[in-house]
Amino acid sequence: MSRLRVAIVGGSGYTGGELIRLLLFHPHVELTQIASGSRAGHYVHSVHPNLRKVTALRFCHPNDLTTCDIVFLCLPHGASAGEIERYQALAPRVIDLSADFRLRSPELYERWYGAAHRAPELLNQAIYGLPELHRRELAEANLVSGTGCMATAAILGLAPLYRAGLVNRAIPLVVEAKVGSSAAGATPGASSHHPERSGAVRSFQPTGHRHSAELIQELGELSGGEIAQPVAFSATAIELVRGILITAHVFVNEPLEERRLWRVYREAYQQEPFVRIVKERNGVYRYPEPKILVGSNYCDVGFEYDAEQQRVVVMAALDNLMKGAAGNAVQALNCMFGWDEVTGLSFPGLHPV
């Protein structure tokens, strides 16, 4: 089988760099073009120094891209939708890591992103590229959307409970995300200046966080329509470069035993190559933690039950640049082409790190 020719747009950014790293080692693709407006002509390793001696590729200018088999878009939100026609003309398949094609409804988009969508007609063709929920649709898809990094963690953590119909919809869902600095991308600014950002525990979106919309859409769908409760999603930036942990408080509609939860989660994830249930009675790592996931494509999911309150605390962890972005996109790619889903994604993470 000849290799698919792949292009990356936005290759000088963080999700772009991660995709380059993954695709250079992917046996079924050949990475032929990496575009960057600001770094055109420079070696890839001048921006992503880990790739020195790994690739001699140079960035091309986005305007110089030529046709190929698949294009990955790693652009700020808004930039993909604005030029989606041009990108679709370059290749029959497009995977867009931005938020532009995550929501199926133009109204929902406008409400959360504060502007009309620039290619609303494509929204219902685009597949929300989370293989654990949309594996089958991905096989047919020509336009695939990446997933929000915090949303991915929250959705994977909560999906089993919603699917099982256990959630008490009369009580709000609270999700608190802790997130590292790479989630904000590669552009420096006052708040990312090291002396200011180091050691921060910074509430950057106490209300109205856009990732809520993805939760509402995806968990709603699993619940047969709409998620009926308020979703209270807040995010805190902490001292960390890569990684996300979400902690969610879910009230259930009947008394349970933890064994029931074990069954629900096991059923959901036992066969999943990249979701692990983490819930240990001993040791240092009893619940999901992003620390050991750096560079890996796992989403670790755990839970604890409070019998008195009929409450489940759900925790889910991932590397925002991997299962939260580039790794998940490669997994989706594997689904689209019918390849073994773990291809190119076997790095297990490190301990200690």
Partner: protein
Amino acid sequence: MNMAHCPECEAEVALQGLMVGEVLFCPDCNAELEVLNTEQPEVGLAPQVEEDWGE
């Protein structure tokens, strides 16, 4: 006392020495304010682009 109230947070804002149209900041919520009236002390929110705050 030449005091107005911040429309955002109601903090007291001193206007002495300022003229209508001048800009100042709220000591409590750091909103950018414009002096609207100095006789009957009044300030309004200055037009502001919402900074993108990252992440």
